[in-house]
């Protein structure tokens, strides 16, 4: 873990690996995140509108959606989606490398497997998670606009005015911190589940890789929610 962190950003060859992983984690999760975010925002718009209308406060819809997305749903849902997509792939890929001696081959070539396999993935996650979260927030807010303004006929100016006046920097930085913590959780858990696939008690060979992949996603998701609770209680 420490060795992995130490090697995080050293050298241009390392940068190249980080870019590759950013492509795998980030670029290839782009459409999934956009899709989930659009529907999340639209549902929030619908649900929020009918709740707020009871109190005659439908004008606050923009604020409700933006704050829920930026502080909670954006970081959490983006992280859970990426855990399912990229975290599982990390665990499986590294797990296969473990059981087919590829990690041992790296070791005997004196190439630190942590620096070669794990740290580029952690670094790339730390960069891409906040970006994907921001994407999630923006598309979610647009989704809310679609259902609140276009479909339910709210005033568009009010929608964005409320967002502008209610969201403060503290909310944005809170969401950013969360996405960084989730990035660390998903990437390190997934990598290490794969890395130690050969030490599992619940199976050997391909079964162990399968179990490592499952544990990577399940453990990541649970820890994301636990960490979210802890962070929220500190950040509020």
């Amino acid at each position: 873990m420490l060795a992995g962190l130490k090697a995080l950003f050293s050298g241009t060859k390392q940068l190249r690996k980080i870019f590759r992983q950013m492509y795998v984690i980030g670029a290839r999760s782009f459409f999934l995140i956009a899709l989930i975010a659009a529907f999340t925002g639209m549902v929030l718009g619908l649900q929020g509108y009918y709740t707020l209308v009871k109190f005659g406060a439908e004008g606050m819809l923009g604020a409700l959606i933006a704050l829920s997305l930026i502080m909670e749903l954006g970081p959490v849902l983006a992280a859970i989606m990426v855990a399912g997509r990229a975290g599982s792939a990390m665990a499986a890929e590294i797990g296969v490398m473990r059981i087919s001696d590829q990690i041992d081959a790296l070791t005997v070539m004196d190439i630190d497997p942590l620096g070669y396999l794990v740290s580029p993935r952690i670094a790339a996650s730390l960069i891409t998670f906040p970006l994907l979260t921001a994407l999630f927030d923006v598309i979610g807010i647009l989704g809310g606009y679609v259902s609140g303004v276009i479909m339910l006929g709210m005033n568009g100016g009010v929608y964005f005015y409320r967002i502008d006046t209610s969201v403060v920097w503290h909310d944005v930085s809170g969401g950013f911190i969360k996405s960084l913590v989730f990035a660390l959780i998903v990437s390190s858990i997934s990598c290490f589940q794969g890395y130690f696939a050969h030490m599992r008690r619940d199976g050997v060979g391909p079964v162990a890789v399968g179990n490592a992949t499952t544990s990577a996603v399940v453990t990541s998701c649970i820890l994301i929610l636990v960490a979210d609770y802890i962070l929220t209680s500190f950040l509020l």
Binding site: K13, M97, S100, D101, Q102, D104, A105, T107, V108, I111
Partner: protein, 275 residues
């Protein structure tokens, strides 16, 4: 670090995984600058022994000396330096699946220097041509046959002209021509680099007679023989003779006499076969 050829000294080794002991009382010296062949039945612990010589696993007891250094007593940094001098062919090749053959062969040079792949491509192609794979430089391991992967693994092991070359079954799974080619390659390496110590695991007798200077035979969990090829040929140890003369130790007639299938199983099998 060490001048001259390295020998490998195994001292009272006990090797295993957790509580299972695979090999015990292993004591032998594999001479430097020679080709040593480790022989033994399937599951006999050959790969296990290699893994320990590589320092990938720790022995349960005993010591391993490489060129006079107790590898498990060396500080980590020194040991990693020592390991840089080893070229290894793993039993299944262990090529990195995400890299092409050329990238695999050039990997340690690429990672440890500031050379780019273009700079080392010439060298890489030369190493691949040694194993007849220069036309497959840009293929990924999954696009090759098992034997081709094994040959590519040898090319990678040779990439840095290591003083110590360890090969786990270089010829198994190869056709006779390619197997002979691998043997010829190991012999050529010994010619070209008199200080190169080569250890090869095999259960191929033809290959043994071709290349071995020294032979280590593992049987029932320990060393059955360690000595020169000449000594092995002249041995009168009954087990070794059986091994060398390729005599089965169980009577084939008994093996061929299948126990009668239970009627239920017989009926089900017949029904399926005639369906």
């Amino acid at each position: 670090m060490t001048q001259g050829a390295w020998d490998i000294r195994l001292e009272n080794l006990k090797l295993g995984y957790g509580d299972t002991v695979v090999l015990h009382d292993v004591a032998a010296t594999l001479p430097g600058g020679k080709i040593s062949v480790i022989l033994g039945g399937s599951g006999g612990g050959k790969t296990t022994l290699l893994r320990h010589i590589l320092g990938l696993s720790r022995p349960l007891a005993g010591k391993i000396y490489l060129g006079g250094h107790d590898i498990f007593a060396l500080p980590d940094k020194e040991f990693r330096r020592l390991r840089r001098s080893m070229g290894v062919l793993f039993q299944d090749g262990a090529l990195l699946g995400g890299l092409t053959l050329a990238e695999n062969v050039g990997l340690s040079l690429y990672e440890h220097t500031n050379l780019r792949f273009d700079d080392i491509r010439g060298l890489v192609l030369h190493k691949l041509s040694l194993v007849g794979l220069e036309d497959f430089a840009d293929y990924y391991p999954n696009q090759l046959s098992g034997g081709m992967r094994k040959r590519a693994g040898l090319a990678r092991a040779l990439a840095t002209d290591p003083p110590l070359l360890l090969c786990d079954e270089p010829t198994s799974g190869l056709d006779p021509i390619n197997a002979a080619q691998m043997d010829a390659l190991l012999l050529a390496m010994r010619e070209q680099y008199p200080d190169m110590t080569i250890v090869s695991v095999s259960h191929d007798l033809a290959s043994l007679y071709n290349i071995a200077d020294h032979v280590l035979v593992l049987n029932s969990g320990t060393v059955a023989f360690s000595g020169s090829l000449e000594e092995l040929k002249n041995t009168d140890d009954p087990f070794l003779r059986r091994f060398l003369d390729r005599k089965a130790d169980r009577v084939p007639a008994a093996a061929a006499r299948n126990p009668e299938l239970a009627p239920k199983v017989r009926a089900a099998l017949d029904a399926w076969l005639s369906r």
